[in-house]
């Protein structure tokens, strides 16, 4: 066990070193270009603040500890995915699994970096006005689409307008007043109100205005271009020779192979059919053994996994009851049991990767204390506990396993919990939309915009499926959202997070660890805090 842990750590260090190495070579890695871009954008308080405070997670070690493995140009990687793609149209908002993949095809004016910052992409630089109402982007010189045509400001405007048209009601695009193109190099996005966290929304893919079928014939500016897609089987993409980042991508071709069954995916990995597999279980890693052909990269799923509680179910409307559940659930045990203790504990609805927006103090609001839980239950008027049905989508084994452990833990404090497994489609329609549940174990992902994570707890949010309501939270959230000063904003969001923790809005459990197996023939796998599987950084080693 210990040996495994050690080798796991080594692997992480090695891969981190490799990322850093890449930057030292002639390749302009994402991190490096982000740093260059920051000074270019004058008066951009937003950018520099974010860049300083979000500590890079992977690229800390800069030594050339792995000179033996030299990158080889070319090669073909097969990346295993268990979920089929939803749509190749980048403006159709889809699941994280699809966004992971299409990240390689498309880019916005800006794109996320592995550290969670924003770096210029289709734009070469940007400027944010003092009042954070006007965002001005300068188009990158010579940038081309996959079909060889040059990207114009009209394409940018078309893309932003198209996305806004689709999602103006629900997304941050509701505050976009106008998208203008004063000259053929400049795009000006004007907002109806000040919003200093608007930049991450500019990752909206830029696509050519001339393409009438973006879903069937995807064209973007990303490092890879579309070759073919067979529903339920695979998506194949190939190197885009005219990609604007010099030296990227390394690979010639990438196949995203859809294998719906995890066990089958694991067999395919062992057979060498698949080169990279995500979400490995502890058992699978042990089955690979020590003399395996795979490196295990440890990253994070960037989810807030928790047991979410419906306030419409009477006992759970009582704060004391919810707090009792928080004391009764032993997060360490769950983490140890399912993820070998490698997951990060969660205490609120925000992930660690959000850096300065994350309040670490929320993790220690509750410690495992069954007697305290019983006390609180008695105070709330439930000395003998109550019945609780936990709904779980059956296709997510980690949530089902978590729920099973929780049921046992709740028994210890007298709460009679039982599990109801439902199909994913049923979970979506009945549990999530219909609000027809008492408690549910699930994980939520999000974007790099902090408000995205927290907004669902405001009383009037349409996706507030727990029917949580807290006036103080609503007030603080509104304040934080409107705040321009990034430090103040961060501190207000942190207060929001603390309220969620103390008020026990949900039983927050963890941000599960993501163990990724990468064939030793390849290196450079880099994890992102947002839905992105960046294949451009991966390279073959000899």
């Amino acid at each position: 066990m210990r040996k495994h842990l050690l080798s796991g750590i080594t692997v992480v260090l090695i891969s981190a070193a490799l990322c850093a190495c890449g930057g030292g070579k002639k390749n302009e890695t994402t991190a490096a270009s982000a740093a260059q871009a920051a000074p270019a954008a004058a008066e951009t308080t937003a950018v520099s603040a974010a860049a300083e405070t979000k500590a890079p997670e992977t690229a800390e070690t800069g030594s050339n500890s792995l000179s033996a493995e030299t990158p080889v140009a070319g090669g073909r990687v097969v990346f295993g995915i268990t979920q089929d793609l939803n749509s190749l149209d980048p403006h159709i908002d889809t699941d994280a699994g699809t966004r992971d993949v299409v990240f390689n095809l498309y880019e916005g004016l800006v794109k996320p970096t592995p550290t969670g910052d924003m770096m210029p992409a289709v734009a070469s630089s940007y400027e944010i006005s003092e009042d954070a109402k006007v965002y001005t982007f300068t188009l990158r010189d010579g940038i081309k689409f996959h079909d060889g045509t040059a990207v114009t400001v009209e394409d940018v405007k078309y893309s932003l307008d198209r996305y806004a048209e689709l999602y103006k009601g629900t997304s941050a695009f509701s505050i976009v007043e106008s998208v203008e193109t004063p000259d053929d190099k400049t795009v000006v996005v004007t907002l109806t109100e000040s919003n200093s966290e608007f930049l991450p929304n500019m990752v909206v893919a830029v696509i050519p205005k001339s393409n009438v079928d973006p879903a069937g014939k995807p064209i973007g500016t990303g490092p890879f271009k579309y070759v073919n897609y067979v529903p339920g089987e695979k998506l194949v993409v190939e190197k885009f020779a005219d990609y604007w980042q010099e030296g990227l991508p390394h690979l010639d071709e990438v196949e995203f192979k859809i294998v719906p069954d995890v066990e089958t995916e694991f067999v395919d990995l062992q057979a060498g059919t698949i080169d990279i597999m995500k979400y490995m279980t502890e058992a699978q890693i042990q089955a690979l053994g020590s003399n395996s052909d795979y490196n295990i990269v440890e990253s994070s799923m960037n989810l807030v996994q928790g047991m979410f509680l419906s306030n419409t179910y009477e006992p759970l409307a009582n704060t004391k009851v919810r707090q009792a559940l928080c004391y009764a659930v032993n997060r360490d045990e769950i983490n140890q049991f399912i993820f070998g203790g490698k997951s990060k504990p969660a205490g609120t609805h925000m992930i660690h990767a959000m850096g300065s927006y994350y309040e670490p103090a929320t993790e220690s609001v509750y410690t495992y204390d069954p007697s305290k839980a019983k006390e609180l239950l008695a105070e709330a008027g439930y000395p003998d506990g109550f019945d609780l049905v936990i709904t779980v989508p059956s296709s997510f084994s980690q949530h089902v396993d978590t729920a099973q452990i929780i049921v046992e833990q709740l028994k210890a404090v007298g709460v009679n919990a039982s599990i109801q497994q439902v199909e994913w489609a049923t979970w979506l329609s009945d549990t999530y939309r219909g609000g027809n549940f008492q408690a549910t174990v699930i994980g939520f992902d999000g974007t790099m915009t902090p408000s995205d994570w927290l907004k669902r707890y405001t009383s009037t949010a349409s996706n507030n499926f727990c029917h949580y309501s807290n006036e103080e939270f609503d007030k603080l959230f509104a304040q934080a959202y409107a705040e321009i000063d990034m430090d103040k904003k961060a501190s207000l969001y942190k207060q929001c997070e603390m309220i969620l923790a103390e008020d026990a809005a949900a039983v927050y459990i963890q941000d599960p660890v993501d163990l990724v197996a990468v064939n030793k023939k390849f290196a450079g796998y880099t994890s992102y805090p947002t839905a992105a599987e960046d294949m451009s950084l991966i390279y073959a080693v000899n």
Binding site: T94, G216, G232, K257, E263, T264, A271, S429, R433
Partner: protein, 313 residues
């Protein structure tokens, strides 16, 4: 002729009933096609818009009428889940794989089970019979998914006779495709072989006890002559019925085996369409399966008439 006509009418009535039942079933069970496609972050307005676009807001009889209307003209519509893909293209892409898999499995079943079943009966109580009975017993008891995993492990990972997951479409390279499909076909065939062997053995044995066999022996026929000329002809009749059901089952797509061996066949498409609530695809596949089953029954009936003159009225 009248007989055949009657059966054709029954076929259409069956198809109609089954398609209506599946249609109704999907409107009763929870889950929503629009929601399944848009995921949990979609706004209620978006979901409503997509429902409208897919025509899901209409009442059930209207939707069914619309569907059957175009289905009768051979148009099964577009997939809800895969935009820009017609149901026809999704199915026709996978059908050859499933048919190929079924054919190979059928060959394996016939080649192994018929001789083994006869041998078992011929040498009933001898070692070959004892061994075959024990082995078939074990094979039948093993769940399909486990058998699949076992076979991929042995032939794929240990013996490296094929590369799990690296399936090549028959249209690209038929030889390579057949070579890969042999192993999933084996997984499909093994439990069926076990069943056919037992079935055939028992059928032969019970036939052997009949009076006409005694007559055949008394006429001076050798054991082999009795077995192949007289017994087998009659013993095969129930086996043919059974085999027809097996073929129908395999043609419907071997869900588990396709999953384990990553073979993109109909079974996998059916499962994913159900969980995505992709009704047009589910409807079409169910229709196909019904067709296969009813047709196989039809063929069996005809075969009966050929094999057993008593059925002819």
């Amino acid at each position: 002729m009248k007989n055949i006509l009657q059966k054709l009418v029954t076929l259409f009535i069956t198809l109609f009933c089954i398609s209506f039942l599946t249609f109704t079933a999907f409107s009763v069970i929870p889950g929503d096609a629009a929601l399944s496609r848009l995921g949990k972050d979609a706004s209620p307005e978006q979901v409503e818009a997509l429902r409208e676009e897919l025509g899901l807001s209409d009442p059930l009889p209207v939707r069914y009428g619309r569907w059957i209307g175009s289905a009768l003209q051979g148009d099964f519509g577009e997939s809800y889940r895969y935009q820009n893909n017609t149901v026809k293209s999704l199915i026709s892409h996978r059908l050859p794989v499933t048919i190929l898999l079924a054919l190979i499995s059928l060959c394996i079943i016939l080649v192994i089970s018929v001789p083994l079943g006869i041998l078992s009966a011929r040498y009933s109580g001898k070692w070959i019979d004892v061994v075959s009975t024990q082995v078939t017993q074990v094979i039948m008891a093993v769940p399909a998914f486990f058998l699949g995993i076992l076979l991929t492990y042995i032939f794929g990972l240990v013996l490296k006779l094929f590369q799990p997951g690296a399936f090549i479409a028959p249209s690209e390279n038929l030889g390579a495709s057949l070579r890969y499909l042999f192993f999933p076909a084996l997984a499909v065939a093994l439990p069926k072989i076990a069943m056919v062997v037992r079935f055939l053995r028992n059928s032969v044995l019970s036939e052997m006890e009949k009076d006409y066999i005694r007559t055949a022996y008394s006429k001076g026929n050798s054991e082999n002559a009795v077995l192949y000329k007289h017994v087998l002809k009659n013993a095969l009749i129930p086996v043919v019925t059974f085999l027809a059901m097996v073929i129908a089952e395999i043609l419907a797509g071997s869900i588990v085996v396709e999953q384990v061996f990553s073979v993109p066949g109909l079974g996998r498409l059916l499962v994913s369409s159900i969980s995505n609530r992709d009704y047009p695809v589910v409807q079409a596949i169910v229709l196909y399966i019904t067709c296969v089953v009813v047709t196989m029954n039809f063929i069996v009936d005809v075969l009966y008439e050929v094999l057993d003159p008593r059925v002819r009225v």
